[in-house]
């Protein structure tokens, strides 16, 4: 595939900033509608199969899968105690990564934290700068949102409703399912509407026990709904069907691309239309504005390697740089027309930041599985998901909204070792006998969208390219803490009811940001005073400016965001292409 070189003298129909789930989807939809698109990605195009090496055994890796000793991945305590650039004790590391950078296979995918500083309240911000962004290593839980989310304010009075309902988005979820592939089982649950599923994975024995036990509590446990093609996709030559190697579970990423990633799922097929040009190593620093019309005119970017500045012109600018980077770019784009940043007449850009609060982590043991012979429990893209059960038919007195629980049971490659002091023959035998008997899970709950939770630009600190850093003003509130208490207690009750012995319980609330599900910094709405975008993720202020990533979300739901980012983006880009064709942009 010969890749065209970016032509900075022409005016593209559209420029897309960011190549993750949203940017990839924008490229797919717009190029298929015949628009000439330039895609800007801040990072490199990596030889991704060589990075991920999905099936490499630990003993075939020079450090058993660990990154070089001068690379350091931050831990939750370090996030809680320090802020960038981390200070004393960290000088000895050549590279510092976010907590996801714990293994050698992702060290070039996630950013170097010191090149990309941020300030303010403690936040575990995970960024991936490379073609495809975080989709190269995402957790792949692919859930739909429902009217419990889109109409949340109508139900409990808090926050804002979305300017769309499930019926508006449902046809686009279907398109995403069919174009990218998803595995799961139909459950007919209103809080996680069914997708058009391919061949499902299977639950193992401890998971079946938990599922049956939960049925008595009117709670549904279902197979992990993974954004993975289990039957293959005839229309996509870049992706194989899943062969159950379980590699994605062990260290993230899939070198046969059964797991959705933006490059093979969206960007390469878009390139094949002949309508897409990709410019990597392009760090956007400003959306430029036509001084006569006030419309967006293009993007000012810096080459991440040469540090040289460039301008590119486009008729439509589409921001898809991730929730936090997109907000940063809008705020950076100050001009005579837009002194507070482009598209920010409402003052809501950067505000209403929300994500998922993680807690209630639990390890249990199924005593009847001790000493059993081995089973292949990690030959699948995921274990189980327990759908939200709070505040659906009844009201919880302590908190609003809800949480879902992810987990899995059985034997992994590296044994789960509970014994923290033992040694010798007994210890070895205990590890062996217990290897397939553990079950673990953890909850993801909705963080309420609050205006007071926001990001802005730091007045002093700049990144490696001289671009002002983001400053966080973000804390969990009372609702999240009360929800966490329920997560911990209810998870324990679930295990005990299923007959599992609780082996260990994580009492922590994980650091803000740890979910990597941040959304909401340029929310949609029908009132331009209280929102940044309309229902088509189009700026209320600048009609040829669209923000198509998680920024547009009105709340975070407790369901994982990626599938909704892509369904919304598809819908918005259909509208965009229609309007472009009519000359309305």
């Amino acid at each position: 595939m010969a890749e065209p070189v970016a032509d900075l003298k022409r005016t593209y129909d559209a420029v897309v900033i960011g190549s993750g789930a949203a940017g990839g989807m924008a490229c797919h939809v717009l190029t298929s509608r015949g628009m000439k698109v330039l895609l800007l990605e801040a990072g490199k195009k990596l030889p991704i199969e060589a990075e991920i090496r999905s099936m490499q055994w630990p003993y075939d890796h020079p450090r058993r899968g660990q990154p070089p000793a001068d690379h350091h991945a931050l831990t939750y305590p370090e996030y809680n105690l320090r802020t960038p650039p981390y200070g004393v004790g960290f000088e000895k590391y050549k590279h510092v990564h976010s907590y996801v950078g714990r293994n050698d296979y992702v060290k070039n995918i996630v950013v170097d934290e010191r090149e990309n500083p941020y300030t303010g309240t403690n936040y575990a911000w995970v960024r991936a700068r490379c073609l495809g962004g975080k989709t190269n290593i995402w957790g792949k839980l692919a859930l739909r949102f429902s009217d419990y989310d889109f109409r949340a304010k109508s139900r409990d009075g808090y926050g804002e409703d979305w300017p769309i309902s499930y019926d508006d988005l449902s046809p686009y979820y279907d398109k995403v399912d069919l174009y990218l592939g998803i595995t799961g089982v139909k459950e007919n649950l209103p809080q996680i509407p069914d997708s058009i599923f391919q061949r499902p994975t299977k639950l193992n024995c401890a998971e079946v026990v938990l599922k049956q036990s939960l049925q008595k509590m009117d709670v549904t446990l279902t197979q992990y709904r993974a954004g993975v093609t289990s039957d293959g996709l005839k229309h996509n030559k870049y992706r194989s069907k899943c062969f159950g190697r379980g590699a994605c579970e062990r260290h993230g990423g899939c070198d046969i691309h059964a797991q959705f990633d933006s490059p093979t799922g969206l960007i390469y097929p878009a390139s094949d239309t002949g309508n897409l040009t990709i410019r990597t190593n392009a760090v956007a620093r400003e959306i430029t504005v036509d001084p006569n019309t006030g419309k967006a005119s293009g993007v000012h970017f810096v080459d991440s390697l040469t540090l040289q500045d460039y301008n590119v012109r486009a008729k439509v600018v589409i921001v898809a740089a991730s929730t936090l980077e997109s907000a940063r770019l809008l705020l950076l784009s100050k001009s005579h027309f837009y002194p507070n940043g482009i598209g920010n007449s409402s003052g809501h850009v950067g505000h209403n930041l929300c994500e998922h609060v993680m807690g209630g982590g639990l390890v249990g043991q199924a005593k009847n599985l001790i000493g059993k012979s081995s089973t292949n429990d990690d030959g699948r893209p995921g274990g189980f998901y327990i759908a939200r059960f709070r505040n659906l038919k009844t009201k919880n007195p302590n908190f609003i909204r809800g949480y879902g629980i992810e987990g899995d049971a059985g034997q992994g490659m590296f044994p789960h070792i509970v014994n923290s002091s033992g040694f010798g023959a007994e210890f070895k035998e205990e590890v062996r006998n217990n290897r397939g008997s553990y079950i673990s899970m953890g909850a993801f709950g909705e963080v309420l969208a609050r205006y007071e939770n926001y990001v802005d630009l730091d007045p002093q600190v700049k990144d490696k390219w001289g671009i002002p850093a983001l400053r966080f003003h973000y804390k969990f509130g009372d609702n999240e803490h009360r929800m966490l208490a329920d997560m911990k207690q209810t998870s324990r009750e679930m295990f005990e009811a299923a007959g599992f012995e609780v082996i260990s319980a994580d009492e922590r609330i994980l650091t803000e940001g740890a979910s990597i599900h941040e959304v909401g910094t340029a929310r949609m709405g029908s009132d331009p005073k209280k929102s940044v975008l309309n229902q088509f993720e189009q700026s209320h202020d600048v009609k040829n400016l669209f923000v198509v990533d998680g920024s547009s979300f009105v709340n975070s739901s407790c369901n994982n965001p990626t599938w909704t980012i892509m369904a919304l983006c598809w819908r918005s880009c259909d509208y965009l292409a229609d309007e472009f064709g009519k000359g309305n942009l």
Partner: protein, 200 residues
Amino acid sequence: MSTDSSKTPKYNRRQWLKGSGTVLGASLLPISISKTASAAKTTATKVETAESIGRFLTPAEYAFVDELAEMIIPADSHSGGAKAAQVVAYVDQMLRESVDESRRTDFREGLRLLDAMIRHQSGKSFVASSPDERAAILTVLSNNISSDLPEARFFREIRQLTIRGYYTSKIGIHDDLDYRGNTMIDEFVGCDDPPEAHKT
């Protein structure tokens, strides 16, 4: 994908096992226990040897750690232990490559303290002590593992390194735990498939 069954890790493991005993045994011959029992006396000259062969641990320390790791995860009737899995090589590499100089210093000091403990108890060095004498000392360390004393910190370190090194080795993954994953499968395995059907 049934043609891929010849490439499954299980088959490779069987092949590998046939040769492993002799190969691994041979590699350890130059630093056998009998020769290194008195090596502590000649540490000063051996340090250069360790560096010249690219190791952090001196030959005496290397033999010490080899024995120590084997005490933590020993061979049994089911599978080889830390020695057969060459855990000591992994430990040496992790220490050698660490950017934390104090980690190396602390480890070396830990070895010295452990040796002093066992000499205090049995009058012999660790490598010269019987398995029971070694186990008695490690039991004391295990029972006091959360202490902040350097002895306890050292035990935590060597125990973690041994666990990590052993269970990421061929012997740990395949022989001891009989791990069945990381292979191409035609159909996802679940509880409705009797586990017995997946034995070969």
